[in-house]
């Protein structure tokens, strides 16, 4: 009985090894973990540190040999995670939820819009596209950060610039620091200026609620339909299984039906 509970128990995480710890910014880092699992970009895992708790983190890679998790230090759990080192054990369960439906989107051009650490799940999409490049047409990336110090995945920017249409903005660049392209202003302004038609394009969007709302408004002005836009929702989660109810948005469970929703399916939902 006791053994059985340990094996078929959806609440119990399993141990994995940290293969790499890579610091992205002062308060952001990426872990590479030897978890070998099938997953879609946009799905997430529940990461545990016993004694501290558990947190849902989206997968920002596309490999069957490992997963990468990009984490911003915002609370107890993420700060505790930042103290882990290469070689340490980490407890994980998952992956969970519905990610970006990459197979259904074959044949389209992709517009990826990310704000701050909202770029993390989109990084999973970028890696996926790299592994399946012929399935998609143009790839247009918009990435917005508060200031140059907040830019994550800096080491990939040169390659992305070569392979795709990339635009990075910073809200403010007070000291005129290094910044890719040097663009200053909200990402939504860059989006507004961009010459985009909605022909055979889908938008994958992740970022703070206000940034997602403004982006959607701009996209609709440019002729995009609600069912061409996919957003990733953030909610408080405990179980990640669809029973604790914290992540419910109206009748939908973010952990189960989301976190990626096609916008026409949840557009009537406000902050509820």
């Amino acid at each position: 009985m006791e053994k059985q509970l340990l094996i078929n128990n959806p609440y119990i995480p399993k141990p994995y090894k940290i293969l790499e710890f890579n610091r992205e910014t002062n308060d952001n880092f990426t872990l590479k973990i030897n978890m070998q699992v099938n997953h879609d970009p946009g799905q997430f895992v529940q990461v545990s540190i016993p004694g501290i708790g558990e947190a849902p983190i989206s997968i920002c890679s596309d490999s069957r040999n490992y997963i990468k998790l990009n984490i911003k230090e915002v609370g107890n759990m993420t700060t505790a995670l930042s103290r882990l080192k290469k070689g340490d054990t980490i407890l994980i369960r998952g992956p969970y939820g519905h990610g970006y439906p990459m197979k259904e989107l074959k044949g389209n051009s992709l517009i990826l819009i990310g704000g701050g650490c909202g770029v993390s799940p989109l990084k999973g999409v970028i890696d996926y596209v790299k592994n399946n490049r012929k399935d998609y047409k143009d790839v247009i990336l918009f990435m917005g950060y508060r200031n140059p110090d907040d830019i994550i995945f800096k080491q990939d920017l040169d390659q992305w610039k070569k392979d795709y249409n990339l635009q990075v903005t910073v809200d403010k660049n007070p000291q005129g620091q290094f910044c890719y392209d040097g663009e200053e202003g909200f990402i939504t302004e860059a989006l507004k200026k961009a010459n985009l038609s909605n022909q055979n394009k889908v938008v994958l969007l992740c970022g703070p609620p206000i940034m997602m709302k403004s982006s959607i408004d701009i996209l609709k002005q440019k002729g995009f339909h609600d069912d061409q836009i996919f957003i990733s929702a953030e909610r408080l989660m405990y179980c990640a299984l669809g029973v604790c109810c914290h992540c419910m948005i109206r009748g939908q469970f973010t952990c189960l039906d989301g976190p990626v929703f096609r916008y026409d399916k949840i557009k009537d939902f406000k902050n509820d």
Partner: protein, 332 residues
Amino acid sequence: MGEMEVLKTDKKRLLTFLNKLKANYELIAPVKTDLVRFQKINDINEIYLEKNSYFPVKEYFFKKEETLFSFKGNKIEAPKLETPKRVFFGIRRCDLNGIHHQDKAFELVKDPYYKAARENSFLIGYHCNTAPSPYCFCGSLELVDFYDLMVYDRKDHFLIEIGSKKGEALVKKYKRYFSASDKVITKEEKVIPGADRLDKKDISKFYDNPDWEKGVSQCLSCGACTALCPTCYCFDIKDEVKAKNPKEGERKRSWSSCQVPEFTKVAGDHVFREKREERFKHRIYHQLEYFKEKNGVNLCVGCGRCIQGCPTRIDFVDILNKMEDGKTTANK
């Protein structure tokens, strides 16, 4: 099951039957203490059936707090779950449905803790001849037959309806306490008279009605409604550590409440349902709409406890009944 077999008995034999059960099982039934509550029965005469229990029976299956596992660093140990053989007696139709609905919710995720707590339990219902509280409205909802045995109090005798194979096996084992009967309990007889005060069955068009606010302005966000609800099943998960060694401890889950602001608070202190009205409405819609969308049955069973137990007596049934069509706050 199609037509359910019915047996007959009298008070003396029924009590003897319960006494026999008590000898072989843990018998849990309503007892009048400060309030009426389900308790382990020591003396059969403690059983109190005049009113429904103030607290639902859910805490025996979905525990207020339970350990998911214990840990020493990254080493995890699952708890040993042992549930004694239990007979629950005197559960009303609403609360039996509450168990049925919670079974559905926890079955979906194959929750081993809930499953273990539900194992080895017999459910013996007690039919309400009249609505036991003025807040009852089970008759407004579509309840299902869900019990091993159901007792119908016919004043000078009792009818026992067999609701499951388990129930059938139980009465067979104690057959001397029952006589055969050709009585059939009709669908109409299962409806409790006077308990149908919720007029609105479909509440989908009232989401943006401004009258929600009117009703909820007295809400204290105390969470009594969700704690007293036989179906509310949300929970938190927290780690508890030993003071001597913070690497050792237990991961526990405990009842939560969607009525407190913290329920939707994410990192950075953003609260998604910040207003009382949003939280109140969320619960009612989960109870009367969302759960049905996914599971085909209303979550609410119409027991009225969330109204009876509310410190400011917010009556969502009354609020809904008075809501007018076409009023909206939506600014689209």
